[in-house]
């Protein structure tokens, strides 16, 4: 089984994304996935303030539960009752119930500090939801937008593959996490990656030729 701890920390890709946009995105997706019962159970957390942060602090999102609704806030100034820290894939996996949270904790990809009971309730209510992130995203943002995001994800993976020589596990995680189960989708992702890899090789070749010409002139 793939361990998230072995993946490269992808917060690099989030640095240019404004925190307010990150917050809105998370809130939108959570609103899609949380059913009435989940919201009722979250009512027990109405006086609790949650903080979700990546270990490198690139992402810092606050979350509160009031009047049967959920509110995600970027970089809140208040002190949190519960702080859930992790690497980005682990936080995503927790929020969208993509991997077993205890396994992530054992491997130190995820950490819960503050009010443990409230954090446990949050985790277990999310784990009780039976949902498909891919379908939720398509429903919210449209099939073509999500498919475009898919292609971008494929290109990002290809970039990692070229950088570290082995993105097999990263690709496997994306495939598993985002429910890329059909042959067509997987094939499309692979084609994109191969195309990008080809472009990269061509660019490297051109750069090498340019370097040689410059060296000759010098």
């Amino acid at each position: 089984m793939l361990k998230l701890a072995t993946l490269p920390e992808p917060t690099l890709f989030l640095r240019p994304v404004p925190a307010s946009l990150q917050a809105r995105l998370l809130q939108n997706i959570l609103e899609q996935m949380l059913d009435e019962e989940a919201m009722q159970r979250f009512a027990e957390l109405s006086d609790k303030r949650f903080m979700f942060r990546t270990f490198d602090d690139v992402v810092r999102l606050g979350m509160t539960f009031t009047d049967n609704s959920i509110r995600v806030q970027a970089n809140p100034q208040w002190e949190a009752d519960v702080t859930i820290s992790g690497n980005l894939p682990a936080l995503i996996a927790l929020c969208f119930s993509l991997e077993d949270a205890d396994s992530l904790f054992f491997s130190r990809c995820l950490l819960l500090t503050g009010d443990t009971a409230s954090g446990l309730l949050f985790k277990n209510v999310l784990a009780n939801l039976d949902f498909d992130l891919h379908a939720v995203l398509q429903n919210k943002f449209g099939v073509s937008t999500v498919d475009a995001l898919w292609r971008m994800a494929g290109q990002a993976i290809a970039g990692i593959e070229r950088a570290d020589g082995d993105a097999t596990r990263t690709r496997a995680w994306f495939t598993k996490s985002l429910h890329l189960s059909t042959t067509d989708q997987t094939q499309s992702l692979r084609t994109d990656m191969n195309a990008l890899a080809g472009q990269y090789d061509a660019m490297q070749h051109r750069l090498a030729k340019l370097e040689k010409r410059l060296a000759r002139r010098a």
Binding site: D100, F106, S107
Partner: protein, 338 residues
């Protein structure tokens, strides 16, 4: 009489509906669960089933040829017995295939009110000898007992040679100090125990604290563990705490390893054991799916040809990836010193 070769049923954990479905889909024969109250020994925040969810789960399991056992395996609090008997009533009403009980009063209640509903003796009853099993069988007509994790495989074989009660053993998941139903360690520090409140190390008493170079774990203010950076973490239970004793620091009561008996399956199947139980109702559907899939494949392979059965490396890797401590142990089953 010697124990026959039995292909045991696989009894799988579910703390919520997605886990129940994952267990059934991955090939579990049975799913065990508890209601959302203190009547079962996994009474954690946000975990377990409402009546509606249990109903849906039982229907799903039955439609797919699986069964559901409901654990009502803590001791009723004085004056609040109704909450426990109501859980037995609900299990019967919903069509559960068995109730897993430990308290004698509840066993008696279930026998009198629902004589046709199978009664399994919970591991919480800590029955580990022939006389004890016979007593529960005679008085409460139990059909099965979940054995405490204190017996060796030889002990279990001898037990099965004599008793007519079916036996079920744990084969995977977290280990404790193996004094099920009699462990009060958690109570000493937090006031709550699995026996009464259905919870060991209740979350309200647990605090994880990030220090400069370590992760400290406190239980009601008592420091019970300190993890180095990147050291595999474990559950915050007192028995798996790291303490100093006689000048040495370490896990003086219990190592934070997980039980895994894959290599012993042929011996287990020759020991007359009726069911193999996977621990982990507190885990999510991903854990359940992974462990049940591996155990299903292993049990089927062993049952088909026990002589040439070999543990596959991928099974072990998959189990280790989701296990507490990331290591496997055969626990008491293979204790040679006994």
């Amino acid at each position: 009489m010697s124990s026959p070769f039995i292909k045991p049923e696989l009894v799988c954990p579910a703390g919520n509906l997605p886990s129940l479905k994952a267990a059934v889909d991955a090939g579990g024969d049975v799913v065990y669960l508890g209601f959302r109250n203190a009547s079962n020994a996994r009474n954690f925040e946000g975990l377990n089933f409402s009546a509606t969810e249990a109903q849906e789960g039982i229907e799903y399991a039955h439609q797919h040829g699986a069964r559901v056992y409901i654990a009502v395996n803590t001791s009723p609090k004085p004056g609040q017995e109704k909450a426990w008997t109501s859980s037995v009533d609900l299990a019967a009403e919903l069509g559960a295939d068995a109730v897993i009980l430990s308290d004698m009063a509840l066993l008696d209640y279930a026998k009198r009110h629902y004589p046709s509903l199978r009664r399994h003796l919970s591991v919480q009853a800590s029955a580990c000898n022939y006389e004890s099993l016979e007593f529960y069988h005679r008085e409460f007509d139990i059909t099965r007992a979940v054995l405490p994790r204190v017996l060796t495989l030889d002990d279990i074989r001898i037990l099965n040679d004599r008793t007519s009660v079916e036996t079920e053993i744990f084969v995977s998941g977290g280990l404790c100090v193996m004094a099920e139903g009699r462990c009060w360690l958690s109570s000493f520090v937090t006031g709550d125990s699995p026996n009464m409140q259905g919870v060991c190390s209740p979350a309200h008493a647990v605090r994880f604290e990030e220090q400069q170079d370590t992760l400290d774990v406190r239980l009601d203010g008592v420091l019970i563990n300190r993890f180095a950076p990147n050291e595999a973490a474990g559950y915050p239970t007192l028995c798996k705490g790291c303490f100093e004793a006689e000048g040495k620091q370490g896990h003086v009561m219990e190592e934070p390893y997980s039980l895994n008996v894959l290599e012993m399956l042929p011996d287990i199947m020759h020991a007359g054991i009726s069911a193999l139980k996977i621990e982990g109702r507190q885990r999510t559907k991903h854990y359940v799916k992974e462990v049940v899939s591996v155990m299903r494949a292993a049990v089927d392979a062993c049952a088909a040809d026990p002589q040439s059965y070999r543990t596959q490396t991928t099974w072990v890797e998959r189990m280790n990836a989701v296990s507490e401590g990331g290591a496997r142990t055969a626990g008491a089953y293979a204790d040679e010193w006994r």
